[in-house]
Symmetry: C2
Subunit: 190 residues, 2 copies
């Protein structure tokens, strides 16, 4: 049920501006405070808090859109690759995605490693996308059957949260380890 009454025009504009400013801030990882985000959006903190209960909710909202985009790729990958290869490509893609800005990685980590209801939507969506990616691999005996989207999601969380200097190479390396782990117990593995 969408809000009983549509937003007033100025309110909708401000909401958009806030999301845009927040996206800019979070994805480039310049960890701006709420004050700064509001300023860049041309509104006051009060307005920011009218639209988003907490900073975290704003973060979640920004990221929900990114996640939606990411969640659309499994279908595309499955159309172009064998199930196991599609999974491998997706894992690497995720690391790339987290690498765009440090902010992104932190949000991904929060989505993946916490229970926070704020991220429920994004989490469910991504788990579903991963299930979609895993199922054909399992069916084909390329992927072990004792895993599901949620587990893979949680396993990826750690990778995305890495904050060390040479983290991207390490993350790719670890994604490969995880991928191989996912194939290890498969019917046709070897």
């Amino acid at each position: 049920m969408p809000p009983s009454r549509p937003l007033r025009a100025d309110a909708r504009r401000n909401r958009e501006a806030l999301l845009a400013a927040a996206r800019e801030a979070f994805l480039t990882g310049d960890d701006a405070g709420v004050e700064e985000i509001a300023r860049r959006a041309g509104v006051s903190v009060g307005t920011l808090y009218r639209h988003f209960e907490t900073r975290e909710v704003l973060v979640a909202e920004v990221y929900r859109q990114e996640a939606a985009e990411l969640c659309a790729t499994p279908t595309r990958l499955l159309a172009q690759h064998a199930p196991d290869e599609a999974l491998r490509v997706f894992l690497l893609l995720l690391v790339e995605h987290a690498a765009v800005g440090r902010g992104m990685g932190e949000v991904l980590e929060n989505i993946m490693t916490t229970d926070s209801p704020v991220f429920d939507d994004a989490r469910d969506e991504m788990a579903r996308a991963l299930d979609e990616l895993l199922a054909p691999g399992v069916a084909a005996g390329l992927i072990r059957s004792d895993v599901n989207g949620r587990i893979v999601l949680r396993a990826l969380g750690g990778i995305c949260g890495m904050r060390a200097k040479g983290w991207k190479d390490d993350a790719l390396h670890i994604a490969t380890l995880l991928y191989d782990g996912l194939r290890y117990g498969a019917a046709n593995h070897g």
Copy 2:
């Protein structure tokens, strides 16, 4: 070079008390602030900061001791198990260790996924311990050769940072995936 002059008696006592209070607070995960830790140690914040530059340094110091204990186990495990089994047991042990208190997990995550010089000692020590554990497995063809302690450490970081409710089961599951990933490319794998 240890401090040019030994600590005065009262200073040493207070330092001990602070470490004890901090250990208590961090390992039980009741995330106490510096004020509270100082209070429990029977000193003021000023004194806390005389001994530890920042809260993080205090955390690091508390954890260095835990890490040292953990780092001693690989040798013991190798004496009792085949190299690959020793590695498996160690990974599970680490999850148990992180489960003791939520605080511990967070510190482990920081050690593993950041570059913070504050944790250099603990990190080096743990990477060395893991190398010690990996080497015989690689030599025996049971573990793939393209990994090292640092990589495994970073991979584990994510697991330890998990804050969700049913995290421990998931963590064990993921540790298994990682373990299998580490065996996947081994000479004798299959």
